[in-house]
């Protein structure tokens, strides 16, 4: 992570020589510059949209279905603890996700935005079977 040449990672250099400063004013000055504001705001809007999508957690899907963890676990033939672990997990197998969503009465699909901006719809059942 050393900064050199075109390696654009930035670490602060030698640890023992590193001192920290309050950068709040420097950041505010950067934010006040208008030249990059339109591009930066476009990125911020995409960040907000990503956060809105991320906010729909598995537990929220279950709540929307009016199910408890115990009820969902019964449908999946697993323990309540296993459901709790799935809800807390950052990532999981597509097949596990598909089974969870279907047990919650949701249609399991993936929406994939392609590089050209078009959106593809993929059946999670097909994706997890691949």
């Amino acid at each position: 992570m050393t900064s050199s040449g075109n390696d654009s990672s930035m670490n602060p250099g030698r640890l023992e020589e590193t001192t920290f400063v309050d950068a709040t004013n420097a950041v505010d000055e950067l934010l006040a510059e208008q030249e990059l504001a339109p591009e930066s705001q476009a990125i911020r809007e995409r960040m907000r949209e990503a956060d809105r999508v991320h906010a729909m957690t598995l537990a929220m899907v279950r709540h929307a279905a009016g199910l408890t963890q115990v009820e969902l676990a019964k449908s999946l033939n697993v323990s309540q603890a296993a459901v709790a672990r799935s809800e807390a997990r950052g990532d999981m197998l597509l097949s596990t996700l598909q089974a969870y969503l279907e047990a919650a009465g949701a249609r399991a699909v993936l929406l994939v935005e392609l590089a050209d901006g078009t959106v593809a719809r993929i059946s999670l059942a097909e994706a997890s079977a691949a």
């Binding site: 930035m10 920290f20 960040m47």
Partner: protein
Amino acid sequence: MRITWPTSFAARVAELQEEVAGGDRLARKRLAALRALLEALRELPAKPEQESATFKRVRQSRRRELWRVAHPFDPDVAVRIIVWFPTDGEAVVALFSFDKAKLGDVWYDRAAIEGQALVDQWIRQHP
């Protein structure tokens, strides 16, 4: 949220601004993304209570609770900030990365090690 960073970062940001002024298209995209991430950090009312697409814990960092700040996928740039929250009102930026090719689990393994060491250094300076 107040933001603290290592002194060398100001110079690095200035270098990036010079590259942008010189017409470097990639530097411009990097600086725009960095600006967006810093704005998100600055606008945080308190330390995140839960993860979001923008703020996620660095799972490789077990000794200190480090967070990474990220923007959505861009085919050209991937800017990341590794940050630690000593209080609800302050963010300590430990690392930046602009290197799209190097982002991945290996990078986060190293970021966790370096980030935790930098947090230790911050704590030594703020007894």
